[in-house]
């Protein structure tokens, strides 16, 4: 097993901010310069990035490959849809709270079962449990709408302080590409900040110790299983939060987001960006969303395109986009 040296030379918070600030500024002006369609696409990318950040706490930092993260995304999304259907709630803040609470409960339960295992057994168990939820959502159509899914209308942001626009479809597009985009952006930055703090805390270091050598970590006093459980909980909850943000944007939730190929997509964008880096999953999620959208728009055989990209990526660029770029930079620095 080769470990890339990237995490060893992690950026200091101030250096990281220096990198992040121009990107953040650019993202703030995007609704003014880009077409509404592209802005909405970027919102999807940012939401996927939150899910990938959560996922990577397990894969990149703890060394556990979950093949069932669609479950937590789906629980977040369905929790919101249920709040609309049965409680007639329209507040986005309550949606986020409800989504996070619901996923926290489910991940605590699933995590308790799954963290006893590592390697392939962990992957299969997370997959099997996620499929329990999928089959329930799929079969109990009188509760979940079955394959038709549940509709989620435009929510009220900040208790109505940001007014929702009622009326024609253009108004909805304007709302999603402007107000909702900024809302997603703020949540995204908060998530990135929180995850940054987590992975650079002693807790985050302990997870990396577990990833690199479980036995040694145990000897220096890390309670391996408890740490894994907490990592699982945090990871799933981030992904659930992404699911809750995603439904109002999509307007509809269907069992597809609980089905295991969607878990594969979450793995895909994390690996595309590079799972041994902090920013890799974020970049990977945004790039994947554009890649998938354009592939779907360009050909009906979009799975073929994505599959070829994944295979080529694994064979030639296992460190992902960010990892490969960093390796190139290191090599350039060494030769100059």
């Amino acid at each position: 097993m080769t470990r890339s040296p990237l995490l060893a030379g992690a950026l200091s918070p101030w250096r990281a901010l220096a990198y992040a600030a121009p990107v953040a500024l650019l993202m703030l002006v995007i609704p003014y310069v880009a077409a509404p369609y592209d802005t909405i696409l970027l919102s999807y990318g940012l939401i996927s990035a939150i899910a990938a950040l959560g996922f990577n706490l397990l894969l990149g930092y703890t060394g556990l490959l979950s093949f069932g993260h669609s479950a937590y995304f789906g629980v977040g999304a369905y929790a919101v849809a249920f709040m609309v259907k049965y409680l007639h709630i329209t507040s986005m803040e309550l949606f986020l709270l409800g989504g996070v609470a619901a996923t926290a409960v489910v991940t605590a339960l699933f995590g308790y079962i799954c963290v006893r295992y590592t390697r392939i057994f962990f992957s299969i168990l997370t997959l099997a449990l996620s499929q329990v939820l999928w089959s329930l959502a799929f079969k109990f159509f009188w509760v979940t709408g079955g394959t038709d899914g549940l509709r989620v209308p435009t929510p009220r942001l900040l208790g109505g302080m940001v007014r929702e626009l009622a009326g024609p479809a253009e108004a909805k597009v304007a709302f999603l590409s402007y107000r909702y985009y900024y809302y997603v952006l703020v949540v995204f930055f908060l998530c990135v900040a929180v995850m940054w703090v987590i992975v650079h805390s002693p807790f985050g270091k302990a997870l990396q110790a577990i990833r690199d050598n479980e036995t040694r970590a145990e000897f220096v006093g890390v309670q391996v299983r408890r740490y894994r459980l907490v990592a699982f909980l945090v990871s799933g909850t981030f992904t659930g939060l992404a699911g809750a943000l995603w439904v109002p944007l999509n307007g509809l939730t269907t069992p597809d987001i609980l089905y295991w190929p969607f878990s594969g997509e979450i793995v895909f964008f994390t690996v595309l960006g590079g799972f041994r880096t902090f920013s890799g999953p974020i970049i990977g999620a945004v790039v994947f969303n554009y890649l998938k959208t354009y592939a779907v728009g360009y050909t009906v055989y979009w799975q073929l395109v994505l599959g070829v990209v994944l295979v080529v990526l694994v064979l030639t660029m296992p460190a992902g986009i960010v990892g490969t770029l960093s390796q190139l930079r290191l090599r350039l620095r060494r030769t100059s």
Partner: protein, 291 residues
């Protein structure tokens, strides 16, 4: 009583198809430690190739001769496996296992659309194969003869595979390699060749499963992913890497499915996954697996 007999036969029918898929998956894992996510798609390829070949020949050949085309899917899947292992999997053996899972996931996406591209969006069915056999009366109810044939093939395949792995020289090499790859290599076993052979044999079993089921269920897009999930349940219950486990797991899943379809249709799938999860909790390596 008569419906009971039919239900038992239906369970065995499911069990034998599941065994064909799951035995390939478990064999590949047992020898190579790779969980092939594209395995279900090789099963689908078996179904498509057989349906396509029979469709081409139907009308030109007598129905009995069409049966000779039934194994076409199995050989096509085996040939594909023999190409895929050296090109895609071999470069990854030194890497962490996440990459092997990922590349087979990429392969799954590719094969899914390759079948769409080759055979179009509509299902193909060599239903003529099951029609010509008619049906017979068993304990007062009629049962299709073709389904009995499937049950027979499933159990024959189980027997052959068992004899192959436990009674032949090749089986000894296969088991030695699965126990300790480096030791086998040091003793002069050509591990590369064993890996190709094991992967090809596993793909052959999947293709055979697809070929034999295609006259009943047809060749449909998406059948691979569904089959893979059921095969997972089977090998998780039985123990990854164990042939006995695949057999017992298939029979358990076959019976639970038949009961599920009759008595609790809504939670049939959920029950299967829950059984798998429960087995993992009690016996992490499955009923017959070694940890």
């Amino acid at each position: 009583m008569d419906t009971f007999a039919v239900q038992v036969l239906n369970s065995l029918f499911y069990a034998s198809t599941l065994f064909l898929i799951a035995s390939g998956l478990t064999l590949i894992y047992g020898v190579m430690r790779i969980v092939n996510l594209a395995h279900g798609n090789l099963f689908a390829i078996g179904a498509y190739v057989t349906a396509w070949a029979v469709g081409l020949a139907a009308g030109h050949l007598p129905a009995g001769a069409l049966y000779l085309l039934l194994p076409a899917g199995a050989f096509a899947a085996a040939a594909l496996g023999a190409v895929l292992e050296p090109t895609l999997l071999r470069p990854l053996y030194q890497r962490p296992e996440e990459y092997q899972l990922l590349i087979t996931f990429g392969l799954l996406l590719i094969l899914e659309d390759a079948m769409h591209l080759l055979w179009g969006p509509y299902p193909l069915s060599p239903g003529i194969l099951s029609d010509v056999l008619g049906s017979s009366s068993i304990l007062g109810s009629t049962y299709p003869n073709y389904n009995l044939l499937v049950i027979g093939v499933g159990f024959l395949a189980a027997g052959f595979l068992w004899a192959f792995v436990y009674k032949t020289n090749f089986g000894v090499i296969l088991r030695a390699t699965s126990q300790d790859r480096r030791m086998a290599s040091a003793l002069g076993v050509n591990v590369k060749r064993v890996y190709v052979q094991a992967f090809t044999l596993g793909c052959f079993m999947a293709g055979l499963g697809g070929a034999i089921i295609s006259p009943i269920s047809g060749a449909v897009l998406g059948m691979g992913v569904d089959a893979l999930i059921l095969a997972f349940v089977v090998v998780v219950i039985g123990g990854l890497g164990s042939l006995e486990g695949a057999l017992v797991g298939s029979i358990i899943v076959g019976f639970v499915r038949t009961l599920g379809i009759t008595y609790f249709a809504e939670i049939e799938l959920a029950i299967l996954y829950l059984i798998a999860a429960a087995v993992l909790l009690v016996r992490p390596a499955g009923l017959f697996g070694r940890p």
